[in-house]
Every structure is written in C-alpha cells, then in structure tokens.
C-alpha cells in the first residue's frame, strides 16, 4: 500500500468513528438518563442540571414498582403471551414461507399478494373490525385471545422475511433430500429449519418484541385487571402516581430484561456462512 493511501484510510476510519460516536451518544443519553432516574428518590427526579450519577442512589423505585398493583402478575402475563406468540408465529410463518418458497400450487401468487396487503394496512385501521371479530369468536378479555391476534399480526412480515431466506437455500440440497427419500415435512424439519437459524432468530426476536410491547390492542380487549399485560401496567403508573418518573423508569427497565434475555439467547444463532461447503465452488 502506498503511504498516501494509508493516511487516507486512517482519515476515513477517523471520520467513521466520529460519526458512530455521535450516533451512539444520541441513542444512549436518554437511556442512561432513564437508568439514572430509576435509582433516584422521587423528589430529586426533575433536578437541574440533570444528574447522570445519582448522589443518593436508591433501589426503592424497583421495590415499589415490583410490589405495587400485581406488577409481577402482569410481568408473567406478558411473558406467557409473548412466548406463546413467538413460538406459534415462528412455527406457522416458517411453514407458510416454505410453501410459498418451494411449492407450486394454485393461487400461490394471489395468496402471497394478500399477505403483503396485510403488511400495508395500518394496525389502527384494523382495530374495530378486529374487535368485532374477537367479540364474535369469544376472544375478548382473554390472554389466549391476545396470543391468537398477536400471532396473526406477526404472520405476514415473518412469512415475507422467511420466504426470501428460504428461496436462497440451494435447490439442489432439497433435491438431494428428495432423492434420499425425504418427504416435504422431513425436508422442512431437517433441512430448511436448521439452515435458516439466523433468519428464524431474527423473526423470533421481532415477534417477541412486537407482542411484548403491544399496547393498543391489549388496552382495547382486556378489561379484567388480573389479565393486563406489562405495557398497560406501566402506562397506568403514570396516571395513578401523578407520574413519579423514577417508578415508571424502574418498571420499564424491569420490562427490558426479558428482551435482553431473548437477544442474548438468539444472537448465538447469527453464525455466518452456515450453508458453506454444501455445493461445489
């Protein structure tokens, strides 16, 4: 490499680092402030200038958040709903994606088109029709009802993402399995799923996040206080306690833990080049 090139490369790296730093700071400061506030006494929350390291840190907010208003129960509700939704949505959408990616059947394009339209309609517009539907099938005010609708809400995007991933799996591998005597289900389980772990992990994370955070639909269909999910519970903190921000932030941070857990669990699946070595060249 020529000397001038080296200097230029270094300059470029410097610029890149600077930009990344700015971006990271913008992203991190609110979060850091949120963490700091959750450890402050309520009276000190709105102090100016803002403190990033509390002078008298306390975990009181966490105790209070966890013990008030059946918070633990809401946490468990949310966890169950999000987990069940994730499992169901990933299972169903991967099967649908497999069908769309690799099988010829009448109406294939039409069905896929309908699925894409589902992606384009804003959730808010569907609220009332969905509510009527939920009422008619008796899915109001029930956690399983939530799971049912959350699964439906996630199918379109998941199927879309997985289909394009499945399409990139070399057809020859599947043909080899066909010749080796594997039927469609064996191919799905023993070839498509294992080779798509990165995509499945991505889709699982999306689905978990979406159903863990979902607010509007849960607020609409859940009346029974014991069946509330976390987003509703956290929202309720704001009214009831004349918004003690320390409490809200502590509750929110508790709510982040499972999401972190999911990320850490699935990120191991993001191994690159999982399909290398399959074909010549």
């Amino acid at each position: 490499m020529v000397v001038g090139d080296k200097r230029r490369a270094r300059l470029l790296i410097g610029v890149r680092l600077a930009l990344l730093t700015v971006g990271a700071v913008v992203m991190i400061i609110p979060f850091a402030y949120m963490v700091a506030t959750s450890f402050k006494q309520n009276t000190l929350v709105l102090q100016l200038p803002p403190q990033f390291i509390p002078h008298h840190p306390t975990t009181a907010n966490y105790h209070e958040a966890w013990s008030s208003n059946q918070f633990g129960r809401y946490f468990v509700n949310s966890l169950m709903v999000a987990a069940a939704t994730t499992v169901l949505a990933v299972l169903l959408s991967s099967m649908m994606a497999f069908a769309f990616a690799r099988f010829q059947f009448p109406g294939r394009r039409l069905l896929f088109g309908l699925l894409l339209i589902g992606l384009m309609v804003p959730t808010m517009m569907l609220l009332i029709p969905q509510f009527l539907l939920a009422r008619d099938i008796g899915a109001l005010n029930s956690l399983w009802g939530l799971v049912f609708f959350y699964t439906a809400m996630n199918l379109a995007l998941n199927t879309f993402l997985l289909r394009s991933f499945f399409q990139d799996i070399p057809r020859e591998l599947e043909e080899a399995m066909v010749v080796d005597g594997a039927g469609p289900f064996a191919r799905y389980r023993q070839l498509i799923l294992p080779l798509s772990r990165p995509a499945l992990a991505t889709v699982a994370i999306f689905t978990f996040l979406a159903s863990w955070d979902e607010f509007v639909w849960a607020l609409t269909v859940i009346n029974d206080p014991s069946r509330r999910t976390l987003p509703i519970a956290i929202a309720l903190f704001q009214g009831q306690h004349s918004t003690s921000w320390g409490l809200v932030f502590a509750a929110s941070l508790i709510a982040i833990l499972p999401v972190l857990g999911i990320f850490i669990t699935f990120q191991r699946q993001f191994v690159s080049g999982i399909a290398s070595g399959a074909l010549k060249g």
Binding site: E175, Q190, L195, G277, A278, L279
Partner: protein
C-alpha cells in the same frame, strides 16, 4: 435392480431450450453405462429425468417394467451423486452419509455399520465427524458418493462423481467403482465429460451432443468405428485428424497423396465419388521412405511411452469440424490447431522440430466421412 429404458424422451425447458432430444436408450439390468459428451449436451438433464427431479416433456421412461413419468422421486428408489455434491452443510459427514438410511428407517446400529463400511471404502473414515465446509473438494465428492453407496437402490445415477479428484485418486476411485459394481451388480448410469474416463470405465458408452445421442457402443468400437465426425473427434486424445479428400475410382485422394482403398472400404463406399472427409488417428500416420506426404515438424511432445509429432504439410488440407467451429472450441487438442496435424510415434523416434519427414496414411484404418452430413462411410 432394474433395467432403465428411455423411449423417445425429450426435455424442453420453459425458455425453449431443448436439453434432451428424443432420447431412446436401453440400460440393461446390472449394466455400467457411461454417458459422455461436451458441456451442456444434456447429460445432467437426462439423469435428473430418471431421478424424477425434472419433468419429461414427451416420451417415456421405464424403470423395470414400470413407466415412471409421473412417479415421485421417493418412490423410484434411485440413488444419485450430484454434480456439485449437494452435501447437507449442517450435518457431519457421518450424518450426511447416514441420511438416506435414517429416512428408510434402518436401525441405528445397522445404519452406523453401513456408514462405517462406506467410509472405509472411500477412505474417509477419519472425516466422519467433520462438517462439509471443513473438507477439500475431493473429500466432499467422496462423501457424496458415500451417501449414494450406503443405500441399496435399484440404480445409481452418478453425475461426474470423479471430476474433482486428483489424477491418482481418480484412477483409484475408478477401480473402486468398477469392483464395487462387480460386487453389487447395481444398474449404473455414470456421466462424465471426460472421454478418457468414459473409455476406461464402461461396458457401453453413450456419446451425446446437443441433446442427441450420436452413438451407443463399446469403447473399442467408438474408437475404431465412430458413427460420425463428432464421435470421431470427441473420442481419442489427441483428437483425430480430419483431412479433405476426394473419392475416385477405388482410391481416395488426400491432397496430392493417393491412398488405395482396401477391399472392405471399397465395398462400403460402393462406387461413390466426390468430396469426403478423411479421418486419421495420430497413430495411423506412418513414416514413409521419401515417397509419402512431405511434412514439416512444428514441434514434438514426448510423453514417455510415445511421442506426439505436430506437423504441417502443404500437401494436406485440414477440415474444420462443424461442431468445433460452432463451439469456438480450440483447446480440444493440438491435432486441430490451425493447420497443424498430429502423429503418434514410438518413444525412440529421433524426429525433431523443423525436420522434414515423409508420412503415409494407414489405408486399413483410415476412416471416411460424408463431407456434408459427417456420417461415417466405412
């Protein structure tokens, strides 16, 4: 075990490409049949139709006495080695080889034993726990063969299974495959684009070009009695020399050189006159004592047991084969490099570059082809 019969089988792809053109061929029970031809001639497509991976546009394929046109691959009980291996990347070598057995519900112990046996045969026992990405091309190819061998299918389809092995391993694997075939007696269709491999392996060889079968014969017959100029030029290395000639009253004029036809040839061409293509294998140029074709040696290649003598001659006129011109194919062999011809001499020859030599053509072994159709006349 079973026979495989193609009856007027044609495959046309959606884009209009005719990959296989009314192929009619009977593979006998237990036969080791070779399918050979240049790249793109439809070998893979033919195999895929037997395996059931490609629909048949018209015609009929029978395995045993059953028409399989609409039978799904699973029900055909055929094992295939794919041209690009198609190993399952997330499985170890052992799992790859054992996969068909697992699908058949073979018991674990027995499956393990059979995987071991196949691995030993292919010298990949040490690799059983590895994933395909940690294997060399040749090792991958052997795993792919192993995956076909563990089964006891009614037929093997092998699509260039030895193409990625080094020369020594390839010779060794050829021998293994032959002895394996002797032992198991399973009907096998073996695809290759390497004519040497075709000549050494098969009982019968099918030569294809552009989806059309050119000749089905034993290696010896293909070499000595090719059906047309394509087969003549494709089989044999270095390739046959093609010279412009004229049939005239019981003799053929090659340039200014006159070759009297032997009786057999004379009766075969039966009074025909006019332009022909004369095919001369490199070993069928013999040295003459001054009264033959005057030739100037361009260069020689000493290959140990033989020496190839490339020469040019004003007395001879080269005929470009049509296929060659169309394919823009020039690497074929030195025999067709521009105006150069090639002769095969013994190892002790003293002929050297820039020397003048005198050659004659072996009348008994010379081949005559129709100048327009390329069909063999004798």
């Amino acid at each position: 075990m079973a026979t495989i019969a193609f009856n007027e089988v044609t495959k046309q792809f959606d884009d209009g490409t005719i990959a296989v053109d009314s192929l009619t061929l009977d593979v006998k029970d237990g036969e080791f049949l070779i399918l050979v031809g240049p790249s793109g001639c439809g070998k893979t497509t033919a195999l895929r139709m037997v395996a059931g991976l490609e629909e048949i546009t018209s015609g009929e394929i029978r395995i045993g006495d059953k028409v399989v046109n609409d039978l799904p691959p699973v029900e055909r009980d055929i094992a295939m080695v794919f041209q690009n291996y198609a190993l399952y990347p997330h499985m170890t070598v052992a799992e790859n080889i054992g996969f068909p057995l697992k699908q058949q519900g073979v018991k674990k112990d027995e499956a393990k034993q059979r995987v071991q046996d196949a691995a030993r045969l292919l010298s990949i026992e040490d690799l059983l726990h590895r994933k395909p990405r940690a294997l060399s091309g040749g090792q991958r190819q052997r795993v792919a063969i192993g995956r076909a061998l563990v089964r006891r299918p009614i037929a093997f389809l092998m699509d260039e299974p030895l193409s990625n092995l080094d020369a020594k391993l390839r010779v060794q694997m050829r021998a293994e495959l032959i002895s394996l075939h002797k032992r198991l007696g399973v009907t096998t269709i073996f695809v290759t684009h390497d004519q040497t491999e075709a000549m050494t392996l098969g009982d019968r060889v099918v030569v294809m070009n552009k989806g059309i079968v050119q000749q089905v014969d034993t290696p010896a017959q293909l070499y000595s009695h090719p059906a047309n100029t394509f087969v003549a030029g494709f089989i044999g290395s270095p390739a046959m020399n093609f010279l412009r000639g004229r049939l005239e009253g019981g003799a053929v004029l090659v340039g200014s050189h006159r070759v009297e036809l032997p009786d057999a040839t004379r009766s075969a061409v039966s009074g025909r006159t006019g332009d022909v293509v004369v095919g001369v294998r490199p070993e069928d140029f013999l040295s003459a004592n001054g009264d033959g074709i005057a030739a100037q040696v361009a260069f020689t290649e000493s290959l140990g047991p033989e020496t190839l003598v490339h020469f040019r001659s004003d007395a001879l006129e080269v005929v470009e084969r049509r296929e060659q011109v169309e394919a823009g194919e020039e690497e074929q062999s030195a025999g067709s490099l521009g105006e150069l011809f090639v002769a095969r001499f013994g190892p002790t020859t003293t002929v050297a570059a820039d020397q003048q030599v005198s050659l004659k053509i072996s009348a008994e072994r010379m081949l005559l082809f129709d100048a327009t159709s390329g069909h063999a006349l004798n």
